[in-house]
């Protein structure tokens, strides 16, 4: 078990070090998300009352599309450079590779959110209830990367991988996005965390089920 965890962190550490040096994934996600948020902001010019209800949708649509960019790159970069094969040749449980990649994708999505949410609140003149928003962002992003990582691995081997990932991912991840949007809307409306307990329970259930299923099936997905 210690060996398994050590290998998960070795792969995760390698991914983070490589990304810190190249910024190939984060820069793409961030610029795309920033542009979407700015376009939405200028397009709607929302009044205070409408803002809370629409902001949640705008944010999660932005995160979902920016997340797809990041997920696509996470395997494509390794596949194109041949380093994924080096990883698959090592005596590592495929589940450890899944967990490391999933945690890496989660970190990239959370970093993007950490920059964009305050920025969005600033340009939209929206109050930011940080404490109740944190579990919603965390659970929503976890569900997204849990499913997204396994589909990104699947799409990497296909010729139309950039198109394939959103087609595979979005139908499955719809419950996460809906629950996250609803919970975020309630939080932006100024209500406390207990008001979103039902949505958080849905997110937790989704996260647990899809992380376990993805962990168990990753070996078949990543094999040729």
């Amino acid at each position: 078990m210690i060996g398994f965890i050590s290998k998960v962190f070795a792969i995760l550490g390698k991914d983070l070090t490589a990304e810190i040096r190249s910024r190939e994934i984060l820069s793409g996600m961030f610029i795309f998300a920033l542009l979407v948020i700015l376009i939405f902001n200028f397009a709607f010019e929302l009044q205070r009352g409408e803002l809370a209800s629409l902001a949640a949708g705008v944010l999660w649509v932005t995160f979902a599309f920016a997340g797809v960019l990041g997920l696509n790159r996470s395997f494509v970069l390794e596949k194109d450079r041949g380093s994924l094969e080096g990883l698959l040749l090592s005596p590592v449980d495929r589940g450890a590779i899944y967990l490391a990649k999933m945690l890496g994708n989660l970190i990239f999505i959370l970093v993007t959110e950490a920059i964009l949410v305050p920025l969005f609140a600033f340009v939209s003149n929206l109050a930011l209830p940080l404490l109740p928003l944190l579990p919603v962002l965390l659970l929503g992003s976890l569900g997204f990367s849990a499913v997204g990582t396994v589909f990104a691995a699947m799409a990497t081997s296909t010729r139309t991988r950039e198109i394939m990932l959103p087609i595979l991912l979005f139908p499955v991840v719809v419950p996460v996005v809906i629950a996250a949007v609803k919970a975020t809307e309630v939080v932006f409306g100024g209500r406390d965390l207990s008001s979103v307990a039902d949505w958080l329970r849905i997110l937790i259930a989704f996260d647990v089920i899809f992380t376990v299923v993805s962990f168990l099936t990753f070996e078949y997905v990543i094999s040729e």
Binding site: K14, E85, L89, E224
Partner: protein
Amino acid sequence: MNSGAEQQIQWEVEVKGLSKYFGPRPALRGINLGIARGEFLALFGPNGAGKTTLIRILATLLPPTAGTAKVAGKDIRREGEGIRGLIGFVSHLPLLYDNLTARENLSFFGRLYSVLDLEARGDELLEEVGLTHRQHDLVRTYSRGMQQRLALARALLHDPAVLLLDEPYSGLDPQAVERLQEVLAGLARRNKTVLLATHNLEEGFEISHRLAILAQGRIVWEGERDALDRQELRALYRQYAGAG
């Protein structure tokens, strides 16, 4: 090898009736092959003969369609993770992370292979492949030949029982080929079990113990290297594989 000797040989790599189809197209057709412990086998064949497919199956990267194979006594179908810990693999791609330094690459793979005393092992291998002076440089700044030497160091990191080399000289200039050749000759002297697949008859001839020719998914000839010279090998290759 005669049948009497075959019964006593401890095969480090043993392939029996191995076939691989990609859809209806056969890549390997009932391959039988054995590599004894400490033996260096050069497998020659033209492009598309099935060399890469065979090596990828032995490395557990591809499942076979039919037949069996054992590497270091382990079955490729049932003991994939065990086999991966006992083989070293070098292909025409370096399989390295170019945003990491040579030392970081070796440390990363060393952790995956649970290598003990990783620092000292890294020093030893970097010295062996002549990259000590560039160990802290990012791999993307390396020449193709240097990347290939580092790939060999990565493959040797865990002191594997079997080395699988798939066109390791591909894309290298003559100087880099010579350097890699020296490193491989060192492995042959240390009695490493090596399978070298290449389409170039010059590569690996001198340092191998046994030779085989693969054409259209079949082993069409195999024999001891000492039994023939380069000219005879070329003639055999032309006869069986149609070029050379």
